[in-house]
């Protein structure tokens, strides 16, 4: 089912590349005829804090942040960040794709807090949305040649759930235009890996 307009959330930790991921999605949407506005909520301009991109794909001018409970799609780069952003912004009709690899906050590293179980996170997120799909995006990126390409695996996953009216070829062309030249092949492999993984999971579910 393709959406007429879509509010997409990309939730992760600074340094995971969600700004590039949201820029790829934004540009692919513009090249598909949409109007786009996107922005981040974040702790600081460098690594380590929570970062969430709001990408709003539509036919009209919208504000740069998604109102609470109006998110259609959540790309979660990290389990706790997926729940943080999902709880606040995801609509009950929304869908979440979650990379299951955790990044521990400083409080966990120091030993002040325990990281919640990923199963628990997914259960609670499931109650807040219509569907949660998990993906080992970091592993798929490693297999594609570099764990840092996890963000592009997740863009592939977004293409795989087929909610946006953006052709696969447009996504791939956008990736070629936006990543450093020497990493184009790597990123296209990462995109295909994410796309393929999600397609397989959805087909398995189909009656």
């Amino acid at each position: 089912m393709r959406l007429e307009e879509a509010n997409v959330l990309v939730a992760g930790v600074g340094g995971q590349g969600n700004i590039l991921a949201s820029a790829i999605i934004s540009k692919a949407a513009i090249d598909s005829g949409y109007k786009v506005i996107a922005s981040e909520t974040f702790g600081a301009s460098q690594r380590g804090g929570a970062v969430a991109s709001h990408v709003r794909i539509s036919r009209r001018s919208l504000s740069p942040l998604i109102p609470e409970g109006k998110g259609d799609i959540l790309l979660g780069f990290e389990p706790v960040e997926s729940l943080r952003i999902g709880a606040k912004f995801l609509s009950p009709e929304g869908i979440a794709v979650v990379n299951t690899r955790s990044i521990y906050p400083v409080d966990v590293i120091i030993g002040n807090r325990a990281y919640p179980s990923v199963e628990e996170i997914l259960r609670v997120l499931g109650g807040l949305s219509s569907k949660v799909i998990t993906i080992e995006a970091t592993r798929l990126a490693e297999e594609a040649g570099d764990p840092l390409a996890m963000n592009v695996v997740m863009v592939g996953a977004l293409a795989g759930i087929e909610r946006l009216d953006i052709e696969l070829a447009v996504f791939k062309k956008t990736i070629e235009e936006m990543v450093p030249k020497r990493t184009i092949d790597l990123n296209l492999r990462a995109f295909d890996a994410g796309y393929g993984d999600i397609k397989k999971k959805i087909e398995r579910e189909a009656p």
Partner: protein, 630 residues
């Protein structure tokens, strides 16, 4: 990698720009000839974008040593007739206030546009500050765009306005605009370039006592023309539905939240909406029309109730009794960035309608989720040399039996304030570490006073304070954390790097030489990745009777990683020898690198994907359990 659309000559084509790129494109469309700035989030990408295409467009683009210098560079070129852009973050305007309050009275010949990016919520700043006050302080125009398209168009307009009025013109941004990305329809690139010529005119350009009041009068005479030129500008728009008894006035990004809230609350036909894009001078005719039509008005603006107060004054002037609401009446919060939901709630309250996006059951589930979610404090990166420096300062204090007060400064090392390091006791503004430390040193405190300051910040504003410390004999240690970059704002070069904004080699200014010239005789340089040597160096410094400087020098870990990737050099991560690890957690509780994690036995583990191979945790480990992976 420069955005290829910055230079694209295709009017009408819709492309993706970050807000700051849109500002830069606006300047390119206006035929900008000189651009100067000092990096500062959220404004840095404006100059970065222009610098990336400067050679192609024959533009002089520079990172100046600080905002005041950047602005003075802009004054020099604008009074020579050139179109000039100076960009900065909000606190940068505090630095330019001195020259600004004179150039507003001399005026300019070439267009001089100042983009100032405020940071509501202080995401990357020491304070929240509403820079709109400066446009009234200096009595010059200020435009406030609301999205990337307006950002580009506002800069083009600002250049026109600046040359028409012969005044500098402000364009105000905020983080939400500078760092948002959206589609922008390109305009034409101005081919014409202003002629460069300095016309000697001491009565105008020399601001001395005898002639300054005359120039002030000239500025006041400009004010009427300012109003005439801006009332009907495209950035101002009044929508007056028939029969509306309520109205909203909104500026900047929050005006987009208002549009959306009106739609979600079904108020579009019931509420009048004045969107204002010119802060100074305000469109008073439109404001009066609105006030004379409706019974009550909600003013929606970010940071201070700036326009709200002015609307009250206008209402008084026309003897209007409309109920004017906003921050002053508690309808909207005084602090922090607005969100769509803050505006939705305020508008719903103002119009007495219901808005609740979630059912009761769903709200309970959200609460359950919030209980599980952990806070995620921002942290220095894995391998950050600053973490190693702070660890060594901590060790040196412990070993010398001294207690310390650490006056901090602006940059990544400010993250040293957070656990487990907790090594910053004060932070004010750029360069304030050394100045505040001078005062602490003269306060006869029992603690040893330490100032920590980064390389770029030292060059920006640390030098006068360091001279002061030597001149006035402030007993303290100044630690310059030199990571060879302005890292917090995105790795811009500075005079210590020997590279210009456009990537050209230039003179490299040496920190140690400067410190010596400031009158400091005791200066030692150390590598923070060598924990033992750095600790010893700091111990000597802390025990010294005179002001001294320790330069802790090591390239930013992110920069080093990027360079290694480019060259294909592999990282050699560290690993934990489990038999030796005693699970004492010293590496976490005293050092706290994000690459250190825990296994199920409570012993340390290292995330090989995050580890940069800096080796410092191996030196921190008392059991010798952390070694380079084979």
């Amino acid at each position: 990698m420069p955005n290829p659309f910055l230079t694209l000559d295709a009017p009408g084509k819709r492309v993706l720009f970050m807000g700051n790129e849109a500002f830069a494109r606006g300047a390119l469309e206006a035929g900008v000839q000189v651009a100067s700035a000092y990096p500062g989030t959220p404004s840095s990408e404006i100059l970065e974008s222009i610098a990336s295409v400067a050679d192609q467009f024959n533009i002089h683009a520079e990172w100046s040593t600080n905002e005041k210098v950047a602005f003075e560079v802009g004054v020099g070129s604008a009074i020579s007739g050139l179109r000039t852009l100076v960009s900065m973050k909000h606190v940068g305007v505090n630095w330019i206030a001195d020259p600004l309050m004179a150039v507003n009275q001399t005026g300019v010949r070439g267009g001089l546009v100042i983009i100032v990016a405020d940071d509501p919520s202080a995401y990357s700043s020491q304070n929240e500050q509403d820079s709109r006050f400066y446009s009234y302080f200096a009595e010059i125009p200020m435009l406030e765009p609301c999205n990337p398209q307006e950002a580009k168009d506002a800069v083009v307009e600002a250049f026109e306005l600046s040359e028409k009025l012969e005044l500098p013109v402000f364009v105000r941004s905020v983080t939400r605009l500078s760092h948002s990305r959206g589609d922008v329809s390109l305009g034409e690139l101005r081919r014409e370039r202003n002629e460069s010529r300095f016309i000697k005119d001491p009565k105008r350009w020399v601001m001395v006592a005898t002639q300054s009041p005359a120039r002030h009068k000239w500025l006041h005479e400009k004010q009427n023309q300012m109003r005439e030129e801006t009332e009907e500008l495209f950035l101002n728009h009044l929508d007056l539905p028939r029969g509306a008894e309520s109205g909203v006035i909104a500026l900047g990004v929050p005006s987009t939240y208002v549009s959306e809230a009106m739609e979600l609350l079904n108020l579009e036909d019931k509420v009048a909406f004045l969107k204002i894009g010119v802060v100074n001078p305000l469109p008073t005719k439109k404001i009066k029309t609105l006030l004379n039509t409706v019974e009550k008005v909600l003013v929606v603006e970010e940071v201070e109730p700036f326009v709200e107060e002015k609307v009250r004054a206008i209402a008084y002037e026309v003897e209007n009794r409309a109920d004017i609401r906003g921050k002053l009446t508690g309808d909207l919060p005084r602090e922090r960035e607005y969100t769509p939901d803050i505006v939705l709630k305020a508008l719903a309250g103002f119009m007495d309608v219901e808005y609740e996006p979630r059912s009761k059951e769903l709200r309970e589930r959200v609460r359950e989720a919030e209980d599980i979610v952990l806070p995620r404090a921002i942290a220095m990166c894995p391998g950050c040399p600053h973490r190693a420096t702070f660890y060594c300062i901590k060790q040196a204090l412990r070993k010398t039996g001294e207690k310390g007060i650490i006056a901090g400064d602006i940059g990544c090392y400010n993250l040293g304030a957070f656990p487990p390091l907790s090594m910053q006791d004060t932070t004010y503004g750029m360069g304030a570490s050394i100045g505040v430390a001078c005062g602490l040193a003269h306060a006869n405190l029992p603690e040893r006073v330490i100032a920590t300051i980064g390389d770029s910040t030292f060059l920006h504003a640390g030098i006068p304070a360091l001279i002061n410390s030597a001149y006035n004999d402030a007993k303290m240690t100044v630690v310059i954390l030199d990571n060879l970059a302005t890292a917090m704002t995105g790795f811009q070069p500075h005079p210590g790097t020997g590279i210009t904004a456009t990537g050209k080699k230039t003179v490299r200014v040496d920190t140690e030489t400067i410190a010596r010239a400031c009158g400091i005789s005791s200066i030692e340089t150390t590598d923070p990745y060598d924990v033992e040597k750095t600790t010893q160096t700091l111990m000597r410094a802390l025990q010294s009777k005179e002001v001294n400087v320790v330069i802790s020098k090591r390239e930013c870990a992110l920069d080093a990683q990027r360079e290694n990737r480019r060259k294909g050099i592999a990282v050699h991560p560290y690993t934990v020898v489990k038999e030796r690890c005693t699970a004492c957690r010293l590496c976490a509780t005293q050092f706290g690198c994000p690459a250190i994690i825990w296994d199920k036995d409570g012993k340390a583990d290292i995330d090989a994907l995050l580890c940069t191979g800096c080796s410092v945790c191996g030196q921190v480990c008392a059991a010798g359990a952390i070694v380079e992976a084979k």
